[in-house]
Symmetry: C2
Subunit: 182 residues, 2 copies
Amino acid sequence: MPLLVAFAGATSGTWTVEHHRNICGPPLPEVSHVSVIEGAAASGSDDGAAWVLRGVTSHERYMTRGERETLVLRQETLARPSSTCAALIAITKSDAWWDLAQDERRQILEARSRHIAIGLEHLPAIARRLHHGRDLSEAFDFLTWFEFAPEDGGSFDDVTERLRATEEWTYVEREVDLRLTR
Amino acid sequence: MPLLVAFAGATSGTWTVEHHRNICGPPLPEVSHVSVIEGAAASGSDDGAAWVLRGVTSHERYMTRGERETLVLRQETLARPSSTCAALIAITKSDAWWDLAQDERRQILEARSRHIAIGLEHLPAIARRLHHGRDLSEAFDFLTWFEFAPEDGGSFDDVTERLRATEEWTYVEREVDLRLTR
């Protein structure tokens, strides 16, 4: 079932913000901490937070059966004890992206940008969960949460830089990149 | 942009319910009228309604560029003066459906069930708008609203009966079919 998740930026919280980069589009105000709230509590009040970003985990929109079988074999879960580092990448894509048909989006995302393949290369070091915000009328279309050990930070930087150089990323009109530790 | 839409069943409203069929799964209580509420007002209070079903219009999940070009040429808009008949088909698909990968769902929906092609055959007589409820934690995954003239009621019955006989429909575990007039 889809799971509603809220990322709350405030003066206290589970995760400490180490770096905050407003990469493009309207900036998100800087905060010192972020908390991750799941399920019914995620739709609660925003009191006390500088901002709350929401998204819902959902079925996969592009992955084929073969790609998913590879993913399931390699991927790790969130909340591993060794994962003391996290990243929250919030992005919004342009109207031009959303006006594309399904086959055109898949063509750009994977056939030409290798988004799924690049992500698979960095498993199992990087655990990942994608949250969809667009259908909830959220400011960000996607919130992707990553967890990894400190020694895998370089691998994570590599994947983000490669994705930002793809054709797919020419459709990204707002992006914020938060790096966190706990 | 996605548009939030609420369908409110009550003792008064724009549309009068002519037939109510609980086809499978938990029944929806019968009401005499349904109103269609769009945008910000759609997230308002449910006071006075027997039930409120919500969904959001969104980007297309399966249609190719070629199919969409055919659709755009043929489809008509809602609220035509001649469209005094409407239907609301609310469905929920099983976990087995949502566990399929994107290519498997497309294969069943179109290659084997011809869902898009069957729909296209009935244009422009039947105007249609699809609303997604699953990511909003709604009881129904999909709410499809149709509008047509009285003389096209037979054509609409034909399309629904053909779709219900497809492989895709074996994944439908809850379905309610309301027919309305204004």
